[in-house]
Symmetry: C2
Subunit: 198 residues, 2 copies
């Protein structure tokens, strides 16, 4: 049984308040085992009807990253080619075929089959949630992340996801960040600017 | 400077592997200050061009929750009305109007103005990421969450977000979960079923 205590301040800092989007990387090895562990942790996070639509590619070799290069906005090329790993966060539009196994309590597959709008919305929403869990799992394991939307999704899909059921969402450069290459931190909203308690 | 160590196993369990979607709630007070702190932590998480499109309502009073009731699927009514707080996770389609302040490095507003498809995609993707950060921030603070998509978004928007720029995404019941009311845990994919290292 877990207790109801907050994590220590240092853990909250590592996950949230001191976490930064990194653009440069230290020369420190990132083992595959740590990437696996981060994704396995993220998979425990909740999704609607346990639909788990996230799919992921980890580009580690020079050859794999070269296949990504032409799809990147020019400003994202150098830091991405230099990152120890690049994760392609994607989602599976055929996720509902797995629901008889993932959500055996009821016939959840029938909620989706044939409803393209609901399929797209559910896949994109839940795979993005899972990508958020993954990003924080990386930080929880001591890694740093540099998420990016600045690339051509259609080119990435054509290059890595032939078949059409899997769509790229966004990219995350992964490594141990070089604090010397951080940009100034952007300001954040205060609670009362974006939220209300009723 | 943060070190590169993983969080302790107990913290990883609280955030990920032992976290559960809760359906029943202990009679233990949830102070507003903890909800504020969770959202403020989540706001530190990364978004594209620091666009921060998440908007949130916290329904705490009987009256506020009653306004939500008719929009819920029948199976979600009882647990939601009983939850100490219900967070409406939403997104602002006019988020780009804040970019001159949030991302002063360049004219990021001009990337979005007039491009409804990019606005919708960016708002939905990034506000969903932020909602994922928020859900894990709740757990990091010792709270439990019960996220739900089973409701009528249009009705919620009409009731709570007149004006049309703010759209509901999903709901999160919040409190200290009653372990006696958990459902059996759904299975998860293994790493190699959904991911590949290239």
């Amino acid at each position: 049984m877990l207790d109801d205590d907050p994590l220590p301040q240092q853990a909250l800092a590592q996950l949230f308040s001191e976490g930064r989007t990194h653009n440069g990387w230290l020369d420190k090895e990132v083992p595959d085992s740590l990437l696996r562990q981060a994704l396995e942790l993220a998979l425990w996070g909740p999704t609607s009807a346990n639909c788990l639509p996230l799919r992921a590619l980890f580009l580690r070799s020079r050859e794999a990253k070269a296949r990504l290069k032409d799809a990147l906005l020019p400003g994202n090329v150098e830091k991405t080619m230099a990152a120890p790993a690049v994760a392609v966060m994607a989602y599976d539009l055929e996720f509902y075929e797995h629901l008889p196994r993932l959500y055996p309590a009821t016939d959840a597959r029938s909620w989706f089959a044939g409803n393209a709008v609901l399929i797209e919305k559910t896949a994109f929403r839940n795979a993005t949630l899972q990508a958020g869990y993954f990003l924080l799992a990386l930080r929880a394991l001591g890694l740093d992340a540099g998420p990016m939307s600045g690339f051509d999704n259609d080119r990435v899909d054509a290059e890595f996801f032939a078949g059409g059921a899997i769509k790229s969402n966004f990219l995350i450069n992964i490594g141990y960040g070089d604090p010397a290459k951080l940009y100034p931190r952007g300001p954040r909203f205060g609670f009362d600017e974006i939220a209300e308690i009723l």
